[in-house]
């Protein structure tokens, strides 16, 4: 059920008890739930619920490149397609992909590419499709996080995972993981992603204004939050293999391999 009938924002973004509108502390993440292997047809897939965000990502590849002229003879290519469902936002989104979706697709591709060994896959492409089914702020960060998980689920060799989160400023205070309302009504928004093999920043955007001291605080807060998100990603992947191990070590398990 939508909380608001009109697309308008409250004047204050903190409650009287000092907590945020949804009851969080300033450095608290929304509840995050991840799952891998949600799409049977795909080579790899993942589902992410992050607050009210609900995002599905699927990976196909390495496979032949369409159109053919995009193929590179010496390396594979990575293509990311970020899309939002028409009903994922307050006002129905037009079905055709817009400029915003194309830009976000590009920055996510740039963010993930350093993780892959594309030189091992000449002439092929990896395609990552990200479908935002429900959006409530921070979808580009959530999409990056879930795309990395889908690639890992597909068994694509990777240097490490990447995790992303947005930090920002509302009513003059620095907070972690902006919700939709905080994003629209707040003063600053800084999405950031860290690739864990070198612990460096691979996605960074900023809109708003900050002084140097604030910037340092943004980065420190984001780093702490990202460690937690990375742990959830790792646990999700591990639990998939633990489940597989359980199933295969059980002598009574049925072999329901559909290929046979």
């Amino acid at each position: 059920m939508p909380l608001i009938i009109k697309d308008e924002y409250p004047e204050k973004l903190f409650r009287k008890d000092g907590k945020r509108l949804d009851g969080r502390e300033i450095n608290e993440l929304r509840p995050i739930k991840m799952e891998v292997g949600v799409i049977k047809n795909a080579d790899g897939s993942a589902y992410l619920e992050w607050g009210n965000n609900k995002i599905i990502a699927a990976v196909y590849g390495p496979r032949e490149v369409h159109p053919h002229h995009l193929a590179k003879p010496d390396r594979g290519i990575l293509r990311v397609f970020y899309r939002m469902a028409t009903f994922s936002v307050f006002d129905r989104k037009r079905p055709a992909p817009g400029r915003r979706e194309k830009e976000i697709s590009m920055i996510i591709a740039d963010c993930i590419e350093p993780l892959l060994f594309l030189e091992l896959y000449p002439g092929t492409s990896f395609e990552v499709f990200i479908e935002v089914m429900d959006a409530d702020g921070g979808t580009r960060c959530a999409s990056t996080t879930v795309a990395a998980l889908a690639l890992a689920d597909a068994g694509v060799p990777m240097k490490s995972l990447v995790s992303a989160v947005a930090v920002g400023k509302i009513d003059g205070k620095i907070i972690v993981d902006l919700s939709g309302i905080e994003d629209k009504a707040g003063d600053a928004d800084l999405p950031i992603a860290i690739t864990w093999y070198n612990e460096e920043i691979s996605l960074l955007q900023f809109d708003g204004n900050m002084d140097l001291e604030e910037m340092n605080k943004f980065l420190d807060l984001a780093y702490e939050a990202l460690k937690n998100i990375h742990q959830i990603q790792l646990d999700t992947l591990k639990s998939k293999y633990l489940k597989l191990q359980e199933e295969t070590s059980n002598p009574n398990h049925k072999n329901d391999n559909k290929g046979e």
Binding site: M1, I39, K54, F87, S88, F129
Partner: protein, 277 residues
């Protein structure tokens, strides 16, 4: 990747066919048996109604959005309900990106017609002010995984979405000449009357069967989709190169009414009405 192929080998086709001749299916179903339906409703917070429907491995997520606009001149006191479908590239290696192709348009059209001609959505109740403002409902279906028979899964998905609807109530302000929000909602039970179900049959040679799975869809000569309400047939779509005899159509009409009743009872879609606060 699972065994998703564009073309099925001759051997596999013969295997499917010889099984069907014994009234058996490759997934152990009978000829007139559905795969299992799984339904979740109202899962999308941003939508005014939604459903996540699986039919076997086929999965469709549908959401409802609304807009307020001017009515069609020939129907000045009726709202509009439109259905769109998108075959997402995540759903199958057979699907490509890009504008809607024939298959997604057929899916949307068949589901739309099933709903439109069944007295399902009470379009007169979607009128805010005659000739000035009516609700326009958008039922948008997204195919998440493709394993055959999108139409039947889409039909249940669209219907569940409409049933789970919770839409802000608007009234006409004569002075300002615009719609005002009352702060209240109206719900699925206020706009949905009949519950139409669409049933799709595949045909190979002279064998007809319900709910074709993906391999069956790839080898079948054609399909026929029949929408039914409680007692009436409301829409039919034949597709593919198969031909049906008059007796077969009569038989399928009869079976559709029977299976429609069964689905109506088993799925009990009215349990997905939005919880009123």
């Amino acid at each position: 990747m699972m065994d998703v192929k564009r073309i099925i080998s001759k051997i596999e086709k013969d295997y499917i066919l010889s099984n069907l001749k014994k009234e058996e299916r490759i997934d152990n179903r009978g000829l007139w048996e559905y795969r299992e339906f799984q339904i979740n409703s109202d899962l999308i917070a941003s939508a005014e109604g939604s459903a996540d429907v699986s039919l076997g491995d086929t999965r469709i997520i549908t959401g409802l959005k609304y807009d307020v606009g001017a009515p069609f001149p020939d129907l000045p006191d009726e709202g509009v309900c439109t259905v769109m479908a998108e075959l997402l590239p995540i759903a199958s290696p057979l699907f490509e990106r890009g504008p809607p192709d024939e298959q997604s348009i057929e899916l949307a059209r068949v589901v739309d017609r099933g709903i439109r001609h069944a007295d399902c959505v009470q379009t007169k109740k979607l009128c805010i002010k005659e000739k000035e403002a009516v609700y326009i409902l958008f039922v948008d279906m997204y195919v998440i995984n493709y394993a055959g028979n999108l139409i039947d899964a889409g039909g249940v998905s669209a219907l569940t979405t409409l049933i789970s609807a919770h839409i802000p109530e608007g009234i006409w302000n004569e002075e300002k000449h615009e719609t005002e929000w009352t702060g209240k909602y109206f719900y699925g039970q206020d706009i949905v009357n009949e519950l139409p179900f669409v049933l799709t049959y595949g045909k190979i040679e002279d064998i007809i069967f319900l709910d074709p799975s993906l391999p069956e869809e790839l080898v079948c000569d054609g399909k026929i989709s029949i929408s039914v309400t409680e007692n009436k047939i409301t829409s039919i779509q034949k597709s593919g190169s198969a031909t049906f005899s008059i007796d077969e159509i009569k038989m399928l009409g009869n079976k559709s009414l029977e299976f429609g009743k069964k689905l109506r009872k088993e799925l009990n879609l009215l349990q997905y009405l939005a919880k009123t606060k």
